[in-house]
């Protein structure tokens, strides 16, 4: 019988390659802080890009109305 103490911790859940191993990584405060900053940056970047597209659409429409391309 296999001795439980000799189980490789990486396969504690019986995980073969590509399957869950049961290994967990607890994020440190520094990692959490960095992750939060990255998340905020992504949110701001998406918002900024949406605003850019909105502004472009608005300005294009205004110009086309002015030149009579659209009525």
């Amino acid at each position: 019988m296999a001795d439980d103490n000799n189980i490789d911790p990486r396969t504690a859940m019986g995980g073969a390659e590509g399957l869950p191993t049961g290994e967990m990584h607890h994020q440190s405060d520094e990692e959490l802080k960095a992750q939060r900053k990255r998340n905020v940056a992504i949110a701001l970047a998406v918002l900024a890009f949406a605003l850019l597209v909105y502004a472009t659409t608005f300005l294009r429409l205004a110009e086309n109305l002015k030149t009579g391309t659209v009525e």
């Binding site: 967990m24 607890h26 520094e30 960095a34 900053k37 940056a41």
Partner: protein
């Protein structure tokens, strides 16, 4: 679940901050692209009809330049770690995984081209896509590690932003837009070969066949001088086009004379100090030359 305390050091990418991703975009190169694109926009015939759209086009061009830089860093991450000049970039430092740099580059490329298509039209967007493709595929993937002419041919990518800017305003790219392209194209070899004289050991370590490494320092200095003559002689002829006027002609002659003097001193002295001065002045030269274009346009002094 089983928990494991790890005695290993925290992988650097887990503590990566937004500024590490921003560094992938080479902000200084982005600002140069914006500047030369602005010169192309302002130099186009007639006043800029819609500054709002022009600014949005410039943002799109800057994003495209950033996308190229991220893709270049992804492709060159193996050699960047071997060069002192590039070893502190986010990928060699382990701050950003290469796959993330690639993803960022691809997404930004698509978004920048799309945004420029909306704000500056399809021709400008096409030129931006060609610029990104040329820089990443032709320069980074094919030329950079194969031939000492890498930066000569690859310089086309860096020379395109004024054409993109011109096309964003006018929807066309006539000969005069390509005259602006020619100035940056001819400026690129003396600029980068001066740098490669200073960083020869770096390029040697990375196995990049820059001209001084392949043909020797003397040959590189000769080539810098030859390209400088061609650049300095060709640049004042831009004043023959409506996009430039007599202030540009005078500035190009005065700045060109100093450019040529620096190239001559480098050839004569054959030392690193002269190479450093040549490199630094080449940056000032291009900046000053492209600054004259908007100034003379706003002053109504162009051709």
């Amino acid at each position: 679940m089983t928990e494991f305390a790890t005695a290993q050091e925290t992988p650097a990418h887990l503590t990566a901050e937004p500024k590490d991703y921003a560094a992938l975009l080479k902000p200084r190169v982005m600002s140069l692209s914006i500047f030369t694109a602005l010169a192309g926009m302002v130099a186009a015939p007639g006043p800029v009809a819609n500054w709002g759209l022009a600014i949005l086009s410039m943002i799109a061009i800057a994003l495209g330049a950033g996308a190229s830089a991220a893709l270049n860093m992804w492709w060159d991450s193996d050699i960047d770690s071997r060069m002192s000049r590039t070893a502190k970039r986010p990928i060699p430092q382990g701050k950003v995984p290469p796959a993330e740099a690639f993803a960022l580059g691809i997404v930004l490329s698509a978004l920048s081209v799309w945004l420029l298509a909306l704000s500056g039209g399809y021709l400008a967007a096409l030129f931006l896509a060609v610029t990104i493709g040329f820089y990443v595929v032709v320069y980074s993937m094919f030329l950079k590690r194969r031939t000492p002419q890498n930066i000569v041919i690859g310089g086309a990518a860096g020379a395109l932003p004024p054409v993109v800017g011109y096309a964003a305003i006018t929807g066309t790219a006539p000969l005069e837009a390509w005259a602006l392209f020619t100035v940056i194209f001819l400026w690129t070899p003396p600029h980068f070969w001066a740098l490669s004289l200073l960083k020869k050991a770096d390029y040697e370590a990375a196995g990049i066949p820059m001209l001084p490494n392949v043909a020797g320092d003397d040959a590189a200095r000769d080539q810098i001088f030859i390209y400088s003559i061609i650049l300095v002689v060709a640049t004042p002829f831009l004043a023959l086009f409506p996009l430039a006027g007599w202030p540009f002609a005078i500035a190009s002659i005065v700045l060109g004379a100093e450019f040529l003097r620096k190239a001559w001193l480098l050839k004569k002295n054959a030392d690193n100090q002269s190479a450093g001065k040549m490199f630094a002045f080449s940056i000032f030269y291009l900046f000053a030359l492209f600054l004259v274009l908007p100034i003379e346009h706003w002053a109504g002094l162009h051709g």
